[in-house]
Symmetry: C2
Subunit: 218 residues, 2 copies
DNA sequence: GAGGCTAATGTCAGCCACTGACAGTTGACA
DNA sequence: TGTCAACTGTCAGTGGCTGACATTAGCCTC
C-alpha cells in the first residue's frame, strides 16, 4: 500500500522488484535479530545468512552496520518534511513545525507497515535509545535533518539562514525538545504511537513557558 | 586522575607521573596527527608509534579511537558544570546557564594550555565538526551532558526532572542553540576564542525573540 | 530464442579497530 | 634486597568494512 502505481505489481522489471525484496528482507531480518539478541551481539554475517545473501551483498545495500536500523526512520522523516512544506505560509514558524509533527504522527503508521510491522519498528526505536553506538548515529542523523528544517523555515520567512540566526535557533530549540520527548518515551512503559504523540504535544507546549524567567510565578 | 592528592607539585609517585605524561603525550600526538592528515587517515598504530608505546597500551588509556579526541573537551565541560553549580539561586534558569557559559569561556584557556596548545585544541574542534564519525560521538557526549545539566537545573528549582518537563525543555533548547553556535563558528573564518564567545552570546540572545509568533513584527 | 551487454552477486584477500590471555618489566614498599 | 602489584608488550583472534575479480542472471536486440 501507499504505492503510487496503478498496477498492484511494483514498478520496474523483475530485477528491480528482486532488489526491493532483498532490501526489505535485510531490514526485517536485521531489526528482528537486533531487537531479539541485541545490536552488538548480532553480526552482519548472521543477518546476511538469514536472508541467504553474502556479507558483501549486505554492504552493497547499506553503507555500514547502523544504516539498516534507520531505513524506516528515513521514511518517517521524509513524510514530516513533506508535511512541513505544505503548511500555510501564514503560520508562525514554531506553529508550523508543531502542526507538521502532529499530522505526520497520524499518518506514518500505514507507511511503516509496508516494510515492517509497526510493533517491530517501535521496538527498534527503543533499542536505538538504549544502544550507545546507535544513539550517536541517531543524533548525527537528527542533526542533518535539523539543518534541512532550518533552511526550510528560513525559506518560508524569506530569510537567509547564514545571516539571520533565528531560523536555526527556533529549529534547534524545537528539535532539542523533540529529542527529549522521544527519549522520555523510550524510557516509559507505554510504547504505543498514541503515547509518543501525546508526549510530544505536551512537551512542545512547554517551550514558551520554560523560556520565561520566573518558573515559580506560574 | 581525580585523585585526592594533598600536594600540588608532585601529584603522586613516579609511577603516577609517568602515566600522566604518557596520557598527555598520546593526546598531543593524536590531535597533531588527526589535524594534519585527517582522522580517518590516521591509524592508532601511528599514534602509538609516535609516543613509543604499543597499540595495546593506547587502548589501556582510551576505550576507543574517538575518546582521545574528547579528552580536552571533558575538562571544559567539567569547568562549565562547576560554574553552573556556583550561580546564585536567584537567577532564572536560562540566565544562570548563559552566565555559566560566559564565565567558563573566559577561564578555560589556561586549563587547556596545561595539556595541549590552545590553537591545537581549536583546530581539533573544527576537525570534529567536519568528521562524520566524530560529529556522532560529539553529539552523543553532548546529550549526556545535557542530561546532567537538566538534573542540575531541576535541583536549583526544587523540581523533579521526571515529572516536570520544564527543566529538560529549557536545557534542550539551550543546548540546541549552543550546538548551532559551535557549528556555525566551525564553518566560519575566525577561529579565536573571542569569536566563539561573541557568537555564543549573540545566539543565546535570540532564543526569546525566535520563539515569538511573529518574526516580521520586530 | 540465441547472443551480447550489463547490473547484481559471490568469493577472496586484506586493513584496521578492538579484545582477551599470558608473559616480561618496573615502580612501591616492607 | 626481595616481594608484590601495577604497567606494558606480544600474540592471536573477531568483526566491520573495502577493493578486485570472477560468476550469475535479468534485459534487450536481431
Amino acid at each position: 500500500m501507499a504505492t503510487p502505481t496503478p498496477q498492484a505489481a511494483p514498478p520496474g522489471g523483475l530485477r528491480e522488484r528482486k532488489k526491493q525484496r532483498t532490501r526489505d528482507a535485510l531490514i526485517r531480518a536485521a531489526l528482528e535479530l537486533f531487537t531479539e539478541q541485541g545490536y552488538d551481539e548480532t553480526t552482519i554475517d548472521e543477518i546476511a545468512e538469514a536472508v541467504n545473501v553474502s556479507q558483501r551483498t549486505y554492504f552493497r545495500y547499506f553503507a555500514n552496520k547502523e544504516e539498516v536500523v534507520f531505513a524506516v526512520q528515513e521514511m518517517v522523516e521524509a513524510r514530516f518534511l513533506e508535511e512541513l512544506r505544505e503548511r500555510p505560509a501564514a503560520e508562525a514558524p514554531l506553529t508550523a513545525l508543531r502542526s507538521a509533527v502532529m499530522v505526520a504522527w497520524d499518518e506514518i503508521g500505514s507507511a511503516i507497515e509496508s516494510v515492517v510491522p509497526v510493533e517491530l519498528h517501535m521496538r527498534s526505536y527503543r533499542m536505538i535509545e538504549s544502544t550507545p553506538a546507535l544513539i550517536a548515529a541517531h543524533l548525527r542523523r537528527s542533526s542533518d535533518l535539523e539543518e534541512q528544517i532550518a533552511r526550510l523555515i528560513a525559506g518560508r520567512e524569506g530569510l537567509d539562514v547564514d545571516t539571520d540566526p533565528r531560523p536555526r535557533v527556533v529549529v534547534a530549540a524545537f528539535c532539542g525538545v523533540m529529542r527529549v520527548a522521544g527519549k522520555v518515551w523510550g524510557e516509559g512503559e507505554d510504547c504505543s504511537v498514541a503515547s509518543i504523540r501525546t508526549l510530544t504535544q505536551s512537551y512542545l507546549d512547554h517551550i514558551g513557558p520554560a523560556i520565561d524567567d520566573d518558573w515559580r510565578a506560574r
